[in-house]
């Protein structure tokens, strides 16, 4: 307790010594795109007369800058936009909403990234990965789909689960240790079709940021990363539509004003039609089978007066697999968010959010003339309040809190629409809450620190029948709890610290420390994430997982910020890590907690990246060398052993080249060491069957993985010649419909990357055991046509 009081005390001393009352006035407002009204996140405000003073717009485009009484010239800038200068005469607080005009899309090959050009060096955040939506649109991925999840896995420290895998690993963390937020709503399964596509339609997205470490205090609930995805608001000036038609899927987005300059909406939809190939089948049942997914994003916002803005956003996505009417399997997410931005004053900004999130899967089958449905679900209701107080130009305090009600339905069984109580697992309930406070503080012009505290609580509540297990997993007690009765409760105090020292205008060093708590755990009886994985809450048997991560980094830009170099080393230690007893059953098992074992894990590594941001040729090279190890009493005699996601080397090269203004070619090459895997070391026979005998967990490696993807993007002419009747001359007029073709090949040299290796008896000679490698994709071409108007 004394340790916690010390941290809190130091925090308040640091903050209070910097809150000095002066005669300062504020200029505040929102910075938006002049063409479509979208908020510009991270736009810069500088004062010409005071170069050391500046401010950056927050995720809602809001900024606040403090200045003494007087006349000043404010310069608003954002990469890819024309700088705007505004003269102000300060005698009181001023509200200034600014619209920035996009510059021409290619100025001497300038690539629009939507970020400050020196952000790599000067941003106080570290261990943050950002990819612009425009980069996502150029990089080829499977089936030609633009996919933010696949693209972000090309960055250092972020590893793909592999072909057909739904999740990703960040700095050695497992797939469930990533908090994925879509407009602040958690998304529990972020993939379609077993990981072939992500649930995010890039046409609906505005900004994506992934925190690998140095987590800000406002984030919590997962150990390894936060992927914060913001949807577009919609064009509040004119109506537009865009879409694409591809081999596997098609999509359409429509956006426009509700009231011009006051409110807008955007609706995006996408559907695959992989099952259309089933129409070629001669089997009637196969012909009537289904294999597709769809997703919809909807968002609307409206400004009520000058201080309030309301947002409504939602996501609905579903994967459907069905064999005739006899068998079906579908799964999907639903999220809904209602947000209210309120500007209390020129210094105090508030965001209040009400959230709903639902993930479920259902198996359906007809057997013995009965309709059987079995499934699982997790539902969240949440209320969040986030405030930002712009104390002065050197201090920005963020504080707030949230409360989430979780409902877990681990296994429901219905026959002919009636719930089968003997085969249905009880629902589980819990309340997760947190409060936080942090300060982003500049000390001089070269030093910045962001420090904060997050305090969280997780309480499992009734009603329910709760089981107690001993260390061997044997059931020792069964206790009934009434509604809202406390079953188990955990608290966590999580300090957060980010430090930045700017060596010069080209380089900086950074350091960070973060403690994180995770109260929800994804249990999976498979080496690869699947839609049927089950979310379990912390409970009387399952303690929260706790991670402590430190990181250090050196960052340097070259050639006027056209090249960025970053290097980071990190060390992460995890307590109460979870693994499974041999023979663990995850699905439809009321005693699943007895099949879990608890231990430690550690991850450490070095990440390097060199990125070329500007020019006809752009892209990056990234390399990570790392280790992830686990330690459990029950496994490998309590020695540290490689985790499944341990891959020593991970290498990515991404290149995008503008051959002409209309023709762009891109390529990626990825390589990584094979994952740790358990293979048998001998065999024996039981009842005539060959049985594998194991000597250690994860003592072997899958073959190394590598592949190259290439893509070509060809844009149709943007302008056409039109006769001006008045002047009689031909004029260059922008075409109403802009279009492009994309051709890509995934795995262009057809490498047979191993998805799995199993040991089986040869069908003709059962005495012979063979290692059988399964590979998923070889050459996968795709073509798509995209349009917008």
């Amino acid at each position: 307790m004394s340790y916690k009081l010390l941290i809190i005390g130091v925090f308040f001393i640091l903050v209070s010594t910097n809150v000095i009352a002066q005669s300062q006035y504020s200029v505040s407002g929102t910075i938006t795109d002049a063409d479509n009204g979208e908020d510009l996140i991270g736009a810069m405000v500088r004062v010409k007369e005071k170069p050391s003073i500046g401010a950056i717009s927050n995720v809602y485009g809001f900024y606040s800058i403090s200045l003494p009484k007087g006349n000043f010239t404010l310069e608003y800038s954002y990469v890819g936009y024309t700088v705007k200068s505004v003269k102000v005469s300060l005698k009181s607080d001023i509200k200034k909403d600014i619209e920035l005009k996009p510059a021409s899309t290619q100025i001497q090959g300038v690539e629009i990234t939507g970020e400050r050009s020196d952000a790599n060096v000067t941003s106080g955040e570290m261990s943050v990965s950002k990819i612009s939506i425009k980069e996502v649109e150029k990089i080829p991925v499977l089936f030609g789909e633009r996919d933010i999840m696949k693209t972000i896995q090309l960055l250092p420290g972020i590893k793909s689960e592999g072909d057909g895998g739904a999740g990703f690993f960040v700095r050695g963390g497992s797939a469930d240790q990533n908090l994925i937020l879509l407009d602040e709503a958690p998304v529990y399964n972020a993939s379609h079709m077993m990981g072939f596509f992500s649930v995010f339609n890039s046409d609906a997205l505005k900004d994506v940021k992934l925190y690998k470490g140095g987590m800000l205090a406002q984030y919590g609930g997962r150990l390894s990363s936060v992927m914060d995805i913001k949807m577009k608001e919609g064009n509040n000036k004119t109506f537009h539509a865009s879409g694409g038609i591809g081999l596997i899927s098609s999509k359409l987005s429509v956006e426009g004003p509700i009231v011009k300059n006051k409110g807008s909406f955007i609706v995006s939809g996408r559907r695959t039609y992989a099952d259309m190939f089933l129409a070629f089948s001669t089997n009637e049942k196969q012909k009537s089978s289904t294999l597709f997914f769809y997703d919809f994003n909807l968002k609307a916002n409206y400004k009520i007066g000058s201080k309030d803005r309301v947002f409504v956003s939602g996501y609905l996505g579903r994967d459907k697999f069905g064999f005739s009417e006899d068998f079906g399997f579908d799964w999907g997410n639903k999220t809904a968010t209602i947000r209210w931005n309120h500007i209390f004053s020129s210094k105090l900004f508030s965001n209040t959010t009400l959230l709903y999130s639902d993930y479920n899967y259902v198996f359906k089958a007809t057997f013995n003339n009965k309709r059987i449905e079995a499934g699982s679900e997790i539902v969240d209701f949440s209320l969040k309040e986030d405030l930002q107080y712009f104390v002065n130009n050197n201090n920005k305090i963020s504080f707030g809190g949230n409360i989430i009600h979780h409902t877990f339905s681990p296994g429901d069984l219905m026959i002919d629409g009636e719930v089968q109580p003997d085969n249905t697992l009880e629902d589980r309930y819990s309340i997760e809450s947190a409060i936080y406070v942090s300060n982003e503080q500049k000390i001089g012009k070269d030093f910045q620190m962001t420090y904060g505290l997050r305090y969280s609580n997780f309480t499992q509540i009734g009603p329910g029948t709760i089981y107690n297990f001993d260390n061997d997993g044997s059931l020792i007690d069964t206790v009934g709890y009434s509604k809202n009765e406390k079953v188990a409760s955990y608290n966590g105090l999580a300090p957060r610290l980010n430090l930045l020292y700017i060596i010069n205008n080209k380089s900086s060093v950074k350091a960070s420390y973060a403690r994180t708590y995770q109260y929800l755990h994804l249990v999976s009886n498979s080496t690869s994430s699947t839609p049927t994985d089950v979310w379990l809450p912390s409970s009387n048997n399952v303690k929260p997982e706790i991670a402590d991560q430190i990181a250090f980094g050196y960052f340097r830009n070259f050639k006027n910020n056209s090249y960025e170099f970053s290097s980071e080393i990190y060390y992460k230690k995890i307590q109460n890590a979870i693994d499974y007893r041999v023979g663990a059953e995850v699905n439809f098992n009321p005693y699943v907690e007895g099949d879990l074992i608890f231990g430690n894990a550690r991850a450490y590594g070095l990440e390097l990246m060199l990125k070329k941001r500007i020019g006809r040729l752009s892209g990056w090279v990234s390399y990570t060398i790392s280790r992830v190890e686990k330690q459990f009493e029950e496994i490998n005699s309590n020695s540290f052993y490689p985790a499944r996601q341990d891959r020593t080397h991970d290498f990515s090269i991404v290149g995008m080249f503008d051959i002409t203004e209309r023709l762009n070619i891109s390529a990626t090459w990825v390589y990584y060491t094979g994952s740790a895997v358990t293979f048998p070391s001998a065999k024996y026979y039981i009842d005539g069957m060959a049985v594998n005998y194991f000597t250690e967990r994860n003592g072997y490696r899958m073959p190394d993985y590598h592949r190259m993807d290439v893509g070509v993007n060809w844009n149709a002419k943007e302008y056409t010649q039109k006769l001006n009747i008045k002047t009689g001359k031909l004029e260059k007029v922008r075409k109403r419909i802009q279009s492009s073709w994309n051709f890509s090949v995934y795995n262009v040299y057809g490498r047979e990357n191993a998805y799995s290796i199993t040991f089986r008896s040869n069908a003709e000679n059962p005495n012979v055991t063979e290692a059988i490698q399964l590979s998923l994709f070889r050459w996968v071409p795709s073509v798509s046509y995209n349009f917008k108007f």
Binding site: F280, L413, S526, K683, M689, T695, A771, I772, R778
Partner: protein, 266 residues
């Protein structure tokens, strides 16, 4: 071949996963003694219980010969009344048929032997007998191809106790070399229908299904073996817990009852 078929073939060929045999260098585990034994009851109508034990040695994963069988051993079983029987060796197996007239039907059994200086023992219990109600072969929506039929075994669980089952199937005298296990979770005291999902039979075939009610530990043993066979996707691959005691010994001693039905599919 029309254009639709050509397009279909191209697309399937491009997207289709592929399998191949690969060479993986594996560490050699030190050889283990393997006991695969059971004591079996046929139900009250039958007047004997049978004990069967096969003792072999584990081998290198790529070795393509049959396992080494231990022959010159003294293997004993003892029932709960303390009566000890020495098993006879015949055709790679140690076995004994115990007449019930001579001794009381016994539930709890112990087996013991000595191999290469290792004392090896194990205990098991025979669960209650459960009979097959009926067997059928029907067309299931997600079953075998075209005109293939899926065999289904019906049996009724004993209420008020946990029951575990292993099933065997042979078609036209050829046994399926796979593990089929289940238990009565959620179906206590009810009739259970067990479909053999990846098994194909046709009209006119002779279908033989054996229902073994087995002890819990043996069920867990077979369950882990099945998980390890699951295409390499088990998140916790490892050796099942054995009930055999002894240095360097693995395997299982199962207590089981057997009910068997044969019919010709019509």
């Amino acid at each position: 071949m029309n254009i639709k078929t050509i397009i279909y073939i191209i697309i399937v060929a491009a997207l289709a996963s592929c399998t191949k045999v690969v060479e993986i260098d594996l560490n050699e585990a030190s050889p283990q003694i393997v006991m695969d034994a059971y004591v079996q009851d046929y139900g009250e109508d039958w007047k004997f219980q049978k004990v069967n034990a096969k003792l072999t040695r584990s081998m290198s994963i790529y070795e393509d010969s049959a396992p080494e069988v231990f022959e010159n051993l003294e293997v004993y079983v003892t029932n709960e009344q303390g009566k000890r029987f020495k098993l006879d060796y015949n055709n790679q197996v140690f076995m004994y048929n115990i007449l019930i007239d001579d001794v009381d039907r016994s539930t709890n059994w112990t087996i013991e032997t000595n191999i290469e200086g290792n004392e090896i023992t194990s205990e098991t219990s025979i669960p209650n007998y459960i009979a097959i109600d009926s067997i059928v072969a029907v067309k299931l929506p997600f079953g075998p191809r075209v005109d293939g039929l899926s065999p289904i075994c019906f049996f009724t669980d004993i209420p008020g106790e946990a029951n575990y089952f292993r099933l065997r199937i042979s078609i036209n005298g050829i046994p399926m070399n796979s593990l089929f296990i289940t238990r009565d979770d959620g179906f206590d005291g009810q009739q259970i229908a067990y479909p053999f999902m990846n098994t194909e039979a046709f009209v006119g075939d002779t279908l033989t299904i054996s229902l073994l009610a087995i002890d819990e530990l043996s069920f867990e043993y077979y369950k882990v073996i099945m998980q390890n066979m699951g295409g390499g996707f088990s998140a916790a691959p490892g050796n099942p817990i054995t009930n055999i005691e002894g240095e360097g010994v693995i395997g299982v001693f199962t207590g089981q009852t057997i009910s068997e039905v044969t019919r010709i599919i019509e």
